[in-house]
Amino acid sequence: MAVAIRVIPCLDVDAGRVVKGVNFKGLRDAGDPVALAHRYDRAGADELTFLDVTASSGNRETTFDVVRRTAEEVFIPLTVGGGVRGVAEVDKLLRFGADKASINTAAVARPEVIDEITRHFGSQVLVLSVDARRVNPAEGAGTPSGFEVTTHGGRQGTGIDAIAWAKEAADRGVGEILLNSIDADGTKDGFDLEMIRAVRAAVNIPLIASGGAGVPEHFPPAIAAGADAVLAASMFHFGPDDMIAQVKTAIREAGYEVR
């Protein structure tokens, strides 16, 4: 027996409300993140991720309240990302009940923040979120690996090689990498397996694959490519109530362990 492949629903939270629609049957208030967290917990989610997409900093306090209420009622690991800039934000999230924080733009801007956070709270507390896209060297925008780190939800290129960045972050002490393919995201055509394989080959910390999942059969190839966990949003929000179970069944039938 081995550690199980984790299946992680991701909830986008804006000013305390889930912003992507959710069509769970029988859930009166689909916009309440805490109610959804309960729902996903009962449906077999192995962890939960909240992504705070709140634009106004004045509304950020509502996110902390959501984290607090969720952690008091749902006893599975909770990761919170969005707007994490340094030790102070991580400290506050942990105090409100988060188990891990994910960091993206702030680490690209200043990689030393990874060292600072992990030295303070341990590696296990920090997830590096990498939004990566394929780039074509022929168009003069290449990186050595052909994968580039983007920020602002994939809208801005950085010129940074995504594989080298993953390796640097792991060396600096980050505990996990959440790899999101900007090209595959929203296509429902499956994960970018080549990208997963490239990051897997570069780091020996847990790797969460994200972006492109449309059907349960898309998940086993991502695991074969090296993912230790899989994360999805709309597939769980808009799919049938038992979608987490369907995904786990597909993973189990492919020969991997699930909870």
Binding site: A4, D46, P77, D99, G122
Partner: protein, 252 residues
Amino acid sequence: MSQDEKNSPTQSLNEGAVRDAHSGKRIQSPEGKPTVTVLDYGSGNVRSAVRALEAAGAEVTLSAKAEDVLNADGLLVPGVGAFATVMKELKDVDAIRLIGRRVAGGRPVLAICVGLQVLFEKGVEHGVEAEGIGEWPGTVELLPAQVVPHMGWNTVTAPKGSLLFEGVENERFYFVHSYGVQHWDFDVTQPHMAPPKVTWSEHGAPFIAAVENGPLCATQFHPEKSGEAGARLLRNWVGSLRKAGAAKGATA
């Protein structure tokens, strides 16, 4: 809890517990629930531990004050971070002495994650050796696995008669750690003493997932993050506090 209740001058020792004029107010539950103090020494997220223990039926106090640590029916020692850091933080609140007093008095303690690790003799992280509390022999070392940290839900192999794992022997629990104890060398057992029960898991190599040693229990995984299985394990432990209290009352 009011501020003037701390530092009571009238303390006396009884079975490892401090009794003082105010202790009844602090450590008793109006509903007769077992009382648990969650040791508050600056270690990460303790809110989940407090809530999970309350859900398991305990009256919970978050505190590092000696009387709260010593007088509760149970003490929970959380632990997140580096071995050496946790040891330093425990020393800073005098917790190592207090844990020792509880154990000497036969009073239950449950330690979690790095809380388990520091109960062993020493830890080696990044080549640096740090001294542990040394309740049990052994060294905490890097897990020889391809992917570390060991992060996620894993199975355990619990021994027959385990109190903690009763009803959840075949469930998975949530682990987050890079280091573990890979050998159990405990061979000194007094004739009248039950040998410790050791539960194993595996990531790269077998490692100790839990120890039940009389009043001193510890888990490498996080029961407060292990969903229903973790809730049952905590209920098993909290339930044993009630029995321990009842048995003590009967013989008093």
